[in-house]
């Protein structure tokens, strides 16, 4: 008989009761560990949006749409944008997109706008004229 069972016997609590309880707690703890966490295969929401009309020194709004693909409302708490090079002569460093931090509620199956501030630096070279910067969004959300 192990130590746990020995103590259980002395405290008057049947060992099998503790054994079952320990198993239940283990299952519950596993449930916590597997609480929904994003994975590539399961997108809880999507983010899309584009902006045009950029020229050197211009700061403007980039309005992205967050679409909720869950079966419950969510609150988007952050959106971070990664900018890629538009061309070898127009590196990503000339474009900045400020991250969003806040709380935007998105109903089930609905979309909501999130506004980001985008700036094309005044020093942008001529190679950026007419160029297109690919953007990649990454967001965080929680259940509403």
């Amino acid at each position: 008989m192990g130590l746990r069972s020995e103590r259980a016997r002395h405290s008057g609590v049947p060992a099998r009761v503790l054994a079952v309880a320990a198993a239940v707690v283990t299952v519950a703890a596993t449930a916590v560990a597997s609480t929904p966490v994003a994975s590539a295969a399961r997108e809880s929401f999507t983010i899309s949006g584009a902006v045009g009309g950029l020229y050197p020194g211009l700061t403007t709004l980039l309005r992205v749409q967050v679409t909720n693909r869950e079966q419950f409302a969510i609150v988007v708490t952050s959106v971070v944008t990664t900018v890629e090079d538009a061309a070898p002569s127009c590196p990503a460093t000339y474009l900045s997109v400020a991250p969003f931090a806040g709380a935007v509620r998105v109903a089930v199956g609905a979309s909501a706008p999130v506004e980001l501030t985008v700036t094309l630096r005044r020093a942008a070279p001529r190679g950026c004229e007419g160029a297109t910067f690919p953007l990649l969004y990454h967001g965080d959300a929680r259940r509403a």
Binding site: F45, G52, Y55, P56, V97, R143
Partner: protein, 144 residues
């Protein structure tokens, strides 16, 4: 305390722990991260084309005026480059008041050499240059 009573207390205790764990696993506290899909881009504009300037002669001074050029959002460009060519199309250096980026839409060139001249203007925004205008009408400066 009787063993049976202790057992019931233990079960209640275990169930309480399980309940707490389950509450911790409540999806209301769940959070997700997601990468965006779909089109996302930031596009830069192309520069506007200058409009043909008009020139007026007074002695050896030539006043050059041109319509404002605007970016895609209607904002006036920040400056212009002014050029002068002779009757054969050969570029000639412009005098100081018209040299370099001109922030307005007019300049006066003093001490222009005798001859027949045409002027052009080119919009400037940061490091970007627009398309040079078509030439303005010829003006003739008499020998002083």
């Amino acid at each position: 305390m009787r063993p049976a009573r202790r057992g019931r207390r233990a079960i209640r205790l275990v169930l309480s722990v399980v309940l707490l764990v389950m509450l911790a696993a409540d999806p209301a506290h769940a959070a997700w991260s997601a990468a965006a899909t779909g089109p996302a881009a930031a596009r830069a504009v192309t520069m506007p084309t200058g409009s043909a300037p008009a020139a007026f002669v007074s002695g050896t001074d030539v006043t050059v005026r041109w319509p404002a050029a605007t970016m895609s959002d209607g904002t006036a460009v920040e400056g212009y480059r002014v050029e002068r060519v002779d009757a054969n199309g050969n570029a000639a250096p412009v005098a100081a008041a018209c040299a370099g980026p001109i922030t307005g839409t007019a300049c006066v060139e003093h001490g222009v050499p005798a001859g027949t001249w045409r002027y052009f203007d080119t919009p400037i925004e940061g490091n970007w240059l627009g398309v040079r205008s078509s030439p303005g009408g010829p003006v003739t400066v008499a020998a002083g």
